[in-house]
């Protein structure tokens, strides 16, 4: 298992390199340059000033050199200065915003996993009865409806009609509720669907029948025998779900005015903030890859049949 983990970690390097290269190429293929004035229709900077700026940011060098320099610095965690926020380095911005996104994501994921498992188990135990329909409905809505649409409905319902929560901000835990729930609903739906399917399969398995036959009560049958085994396929879901929560948080963060990393991403895209774009994409990439690795390792722990 240790060998497997090391092997996977080593694979991370070419993957990230490729990711950085693709991003870098797409970015520089983009018409428009960071030296263009930020305001629309403003007069361009004088050629001399542009040349000086380009030299300061290293934009005057040939592309392959720029990429090399970027890599050499990025390895040390130095992503350079942001082009938009000229007084701050990208690392500073990320250090300030990433924890917020991480907190929001973790809360959302916790809600999604708990809610999804509960809904899925209820649906399977009461198959084709009341609870099943409730849970399938919630799951389908969660999966199908985009989170920025959910956000609109939630704000209207829980901020305007029933003023329970503020419409945005990030100052107190009360602000956290709506964004976290909005972000959680999609992944929750997916988990609920998979849990239901997986539980239904396990409930019909021979060992569950044996457990019932030896006279166990329903609760231990469900939780000790069925649920544990049903959990295994669900764990694989967590990797992609982290990705969903990560990208989903852009929209949720911008609607609920959460000062996280997601907001900077869109801003950096439209502002051609090259260092920021690279940093955000790579941060997500590393984060996702590590989550995927953790998930795969957990899988092995849960299911002793799996050998690496």
């Amino acid at each position: 298992m240790f060998e497997y983990a090391v092997h996977r970690l080593l694979w991370l390097i070419p993957t990230l390199l490729a990711m950085a290269l693709v991003t870098f190429l797409v970015m520089h293929a983009t018409p428009g340059s960071p030296l263009d004035p930020i305001a629309e229709g403003a007069n361009p900077l004088s050629p001399d000033a542009q040349k000086n700026l380009a030299a300061q940011y290293g934009l005057d060098k040939p592309l392959h050199q720029q990429f090399g320099i970027f890599l050499a610095k990025a390895v040390r965690g130095d992503f350079g200065q942001s082009f938009i926020y000229k007084t701050r380095t990208v690392s500073e911005i990320l250090r300030a915003t990433f924890p917020i996104s991480l907190l929001l994501g973790s809360i959302a994921l916790a809600i999604a996993v708990t809610g999804g498992l509960v809904l899925g188990i209820l649906a399977a135990v009461y198959q084709n009865r009341g609870w099943d329909y409730v849970s399938v409905t919630v799951a389908t809505v969660g999966v199908a409806v985009p989170n920025f649409v959910l956000a609109v409905f939630f704000i209207i319902l829980f901020s305007f009609v029933i003023p329970l929560f503020p419409t945005g901000g990030w100052d107190s835990p009360r602000n956290w509720v709506l964004p976290a729930v909005t972000l959680a609903l999609g992944p929750m739906g997916i988990i609920a669907r998979f849990t239901r399917a997986s539980m239904l399969e396990v409930i019909r398995a021979d060992y569950t029948r044996t457990a019932r036959a030896k006279g166990l009560a329903e609760i231990p049958v469900i939780f000790k025998h069925a649920f544990k085994n049903a959990l295994i396929p669900i764990v694989t879901l967590l990797g992609p779900l982290c990705a969903a929560v990560g990208t989903g948080s852009f929209f949720v963060e911008s609607i609920f005015r959460v000062p996280g990393m997601g907001r900077f991403f869109v801003e950096s895209m439209t502002g051609r903030d090259y260092p920021m774009i690279m940093a955000v994409i790579l941060t997500y990439g590393v984060f996702l890859a590590i989550m995927n690795l953790l998930v795969d390792l957990t899988y092995g722990v849960l299911d002793p049949r799996i050998r690496y």
Partner: protein, 261 residues
């Protein structure tokens, strides 16, 4: 089933938009800005006095076109890629799968946004952006199918009779690999619709003044407290569309693949 009915209705609305819409989607009326729903304007008007209902009817067109059009590109790239990778095998397969894995590791929506900001807003660019990023899933699925099918006796039989690569793939392997691809495509449609809405929501999708539901939600969301109708109606449209396609996809999957429950 209900999903299918809504989809047919939506498609009709999209095709007949010119006849159904009471106003032009670009016609501004500065005497009637941000009006709430009334008899003149059934769903109200937006910040430029444009009829919201008309804009939503034309918005259906964008959603449908993107949903279907993007899938065509996805299939055109993904299926041959996956089929060749699986069928040829060996080094080619290793190289192609590595490439697929790297693409898979990319946070997809980020990549779409990146490509969109590189290409600029616009309908054609949305197709390209979704096509460039969406084919990975289908390629994986096709590869898996082809891998298992190519060992079957009937494929071997075809090869023994002297059929070439292309013929074996086209006439013998692909028809049998079709089911999961069809299912993946039906689920891909709402995903593409979602992607367009999301892109337009943050302002890198459809170019104004062409109406898109996502863009309408994005703009309306700023005035949510004062003019709720700007945001709510397009939101409902997106939600209903996405739900219908999801139900439809579930139905298609159950019909084509009796093993899945």
């Amino acid at each position: 089933m209900a999903g299918g009915v809504v989809i047919v209705l939506m498609a009709l609305v999209a095709v007949l938009a010119d006849f159904l819409a009471p106003f032009s989607y670009t016609k501004t009326n500065f005497g009637a800005l941000n009006e709430f729903p009334s008899r003149d304007h059934l769903l109200g008007t937006d910040a430029l006095g444009r009829d919201l209902l008309s804009r939503m009817i034309y918005g259906a067109r964008i959603s449908m076109v993107v949903g279907l059009g993007a899938q065509v590109i996805v299939v055109l790239i993904g299926v041959p890629f996956g089929a060749l990778s699986g069928y040829i095998g060996g080094r080619v397969d290793i190289a192609l799968t590595r490439f697929i894995d790297v693409m898979y590791a990319f946070p997809r929506l980020l990549f779409v946004i990146l490509v969109m900001s590189a290409l600029g807003a616009g309908l054609l660019n949305i197709f390209i952006a979704i096509g460039l990023t969406g084919w990975v899933g289908i390629a994986r699925q096709t590869r898996a199918q082809v891998l298992s099918l190519k060992e079957k006796e009937f494929v071997e039989g075809a090869r023994a009779l002297g059929a070439g690569y292309v013929r074996v793939l086209r006439r013998h392997v692909m028809p049998n690999a079709l089911t999961p691809i069809v299912v993946a495509v039906t689920f891909g449609i709402p995903e593409a619709i979602f992607t367009e809405a999301a892109l337009s929501f943050i302002g890198v999708g459809i170019n104004p003044p062409t109406p898109s539901w996502g863009q309408m939600v994005g703009e309306g969301q700023q005035y949510l407290r004062s003019y709720w109708h700007l945001c709510v109606f397009p939101s409902i449209a997106i939600a209903v569309t996405m739900l219908s396609f999801t139900f439809f996809g579930d139905g298609v999957r159950d019909a084509l693949d009796p093993k899945m429950q």
